[in-house]
Amino acid sequence: MEAQRSDATSRLPDVVQEFASAVVPALRGGDGRFDVVGTVLTPADDPVAVAAVRVLGADVLAPRTLAGRTPTEADLALFEHAVRAFPPKAGGSALSAWSHRGMRAALAAARADGTARAGDGDVPDTAWVAELSWQRMTHQLAQLAALAVPGLAPPLAEAVAARPVDLARGFVRAVRRRDWLQAAGAGRWLAMTPGTPESLGLATGLDFVHHMGGADARVALHVQAAAVLRSRGDGAATPYAGSVRA
């Protein structure tokens, strides 16, 4: 049993990469459907697959929420399984609560037929966005980059929109530290946040992050998501038609 567990743990990063790699091309547009389960080798009933979906969170359905493509039933089933298998802990962190909420919102959006629906349950805390130092705030937000989808987490996006300069500073810091995943996550938030300073050179910066860190599929995913967001125009947090509010 223990050997199984440690084996699963050691496989998790690779399986996360595998799933992220399946999502990235689906964000680039193309034909109507996407199929993560069908693309990866790891079977959907493998517990590590469920865990990997939990790690990537709402992003497993980003081809739907960001790029308007249709998920397969198998993808939805696996996603639902992950939501159930890793419920939010009572007294858990705001980060964890937001991550869960994002998953439920993404699932609702994917299952819905394009109509918005208010998320259920209490809205997790966003005060930390205003209160943390710009370094800490960026670090935390980058871990919630899967929620950088217009309409998916409006209270969070609103809190972020109050500090674009600080988040931009966090992006610069992450790049300097060669923390490509943090940089990509921060850059993705900036891509949908009005007030992001022009002088940052966000588009070029994200290209740079992709050159340096794109071997990590999670980095590539955030960079691609940011490209989609920027193509919507001016980083404005325009809710995606058919999105569901978290």
Binding site: A130, E131, L132, S133, W134, Q135, R136, H139, A162, R163, P164, V165, D166, A168, R169, G170, F171, V172, R173, A174, V175, R176, R177, R178, D179, L181, Q182, A183, G195, P197, S199, L200, G201, T204, G205, F208
Partner: protein, 415 residues
């Protein structure tokens, strides 16, 4: 001699994505231009900290004054200028700045005066410059070094006679330097009241040329802030020092650059602090103190100042990078003199900005070559005590014989 102001080679240690969130950690608000929030905490460092840092730094330098002495045959071509003339030139420029910006009667003021006078005596009251140009008549660095002394009212007539001739040659003005050092040459000419390219009068043409030159730099062209690294960092700091005449005229920095720096200095500082690159940290802090209003007061630098102060040892020394020396060795002077000079410079400038009421806001930064901060007696006082002056609107009409010449001394970076 290599670029005065080239900055130390440094060990360019890259910060890493480790969980250390040291500097600037914790809850805090970040007020400032471009920032959207108003915090209860001030972005600047406590005055007492600045006082302590600058006084300790100047004291250490005073205690090591003999290490700045020039070797016997310093003008010989084989003598390395970077370990001899350059440190002395930096001492002169930075103690001129600290003299100018520290309150008269303060210990910092007294130490600055003493060290500036020492530096002048080391040059044989300027004889050195004449010797240098006899050997190297087309070099620019003698004029660059001389500028700080001249600005302090310490003059050598025979050298100036040659210098005024030399700087009007096409060759001198076409000397090929990277843009930031070219800005330094511009300041040198400005200090001497000499027009560029032999054109008549000062004003429009020079201003446009200067602005054009300034835009063709890493800072002036607004390079992406995430591309900051050590080489670019030192180019940027010296751009600011040359354009503001080492903090004497903050309003000469264009407002858009002031805003740009106020916005991006915090992550640059964060990175330098994390890597313990104290020399560059200190220069960035000095840059913050050179910004035009309202940016100098608004840029959040408190955390970086606290970290920087922590890098200074009890004797006042700051190492170029890493922890300060516990025990002084023969290497200590070269390892520490530059960063310690920078600590004094940044500390005095920052304290001065805190004391000074909001002065003229940033101009267009056309870099009017007629000179900034023309305050002070036009027929300068016989006792060479430079008058402290803030950047006033540049009076045009200062001609080639402007008594109040100001020159930028090469002052950046240890050899």
């Amino acid at each position: 001699m290599t670029a005065p102001g080239g900055g130390p080679p440094g060990r360019a240690r890259e910060p890493g994505p480790n969980p250390r969130n040291g500097s600037g950690q914790g809850r805090g608000n970040e007020p400032g231009p471009g920032a959207e929030r108003h915090g209860e905490e001030t972005p600047g460092p406590p005055p007492a900290l600045l006082e302590r840092v600058s006084l300790a730094a100047l004291s250490w330098l005073r205690a090591h004054l003999t290490d700045f002495r020039l070797p016997e045959r310093v003008t010989d071509p084989h003598v390395d200028r970077n370990t001899t003339l350059k440190p002395l030139g930096e001492l002169a420029q930075l103690t001129l700045s600290t003299l100018r910006s520290s309150p008269p009667g303060s210990e910092q003021h007294r130490l600055s005066r003493e060290m500036l006078d020492f530096a002048w005596r080391e040059t044989g009251r300027g004889d050195l410059f004449l010797s240098l140009v006899r050997g190297e008549p087309h070099a620019t660095y003698p004029m660059e070094l001389y500028g700080a002394f001249a600005e302090a009212g310490l003059r050598h007539a025979a050298f100036e006679e040659y210098a005024r001739f030399a700087v009007t040659t096409r060759a001198w003005q076409l000397c090929e330097y990277e843009p930031t050092r070219a800005l330094g040459l511009f300041n040198t000419l400005r200090r001497m009241g000499v027009a560029t390219h032999g054109s008549v009068g000062l004003g429009g043409t020079e201003a446009a040329e200067h602005a054009e030159l300034a835009r063709r730099t890493w800072l002036g062209g607004l390079a992406e802030p995430w591309a900051f690294e050590v080489h670019a960092g030192y180019a940027m700091t010296h751009h600011v020092f040359h354009v503001t005449n080492w903090g004497e005229a903050p309003a000469q920095l264009p407002a858009d650059l002031g805003e740009h720096l106020a916005r991006w200095l915090p992550p640059w500082l964060d990175g330098c602090v994390e890597c313990e690159q104290w020399d560059l940290t200190g220069e960035l802090l000095a840059v913050a103190a050179c910004l035009p209003e309202p940016y100098a007061r608004a840029v959040p630098v408190a955390d970086a100042w606290h970290a920087f102060a922590g890098a200074q040892n009890v004797a006042g020394a700051v190492a170029e990078d890493g922890p300060p020396p516990v025990r002084e060795t023969a290497d200590t002077f070269l390892d520490c003199y530059h960063s310690t000079l920078v600590a004094a410079f940044a500390g005095v400038l920052a304290a001065d900005r805190l004391r000074t009421p909001a002065s003229a806001p940033a101009g267009t930064g056309a870099g009017t070559p007629a000179g900034t901060g023309g305050g002070g007696d036009p027929g300068h006082a016989p006792a060479p005590a430079p008058v402290r002056h803030r950047a006033a609107a540049a009076p045009t009409g200062a001609g080639p014989h402007a008594p109040h010449v100001t020159t930028t001394a090469p002052g950046g970076g240890r050899p």
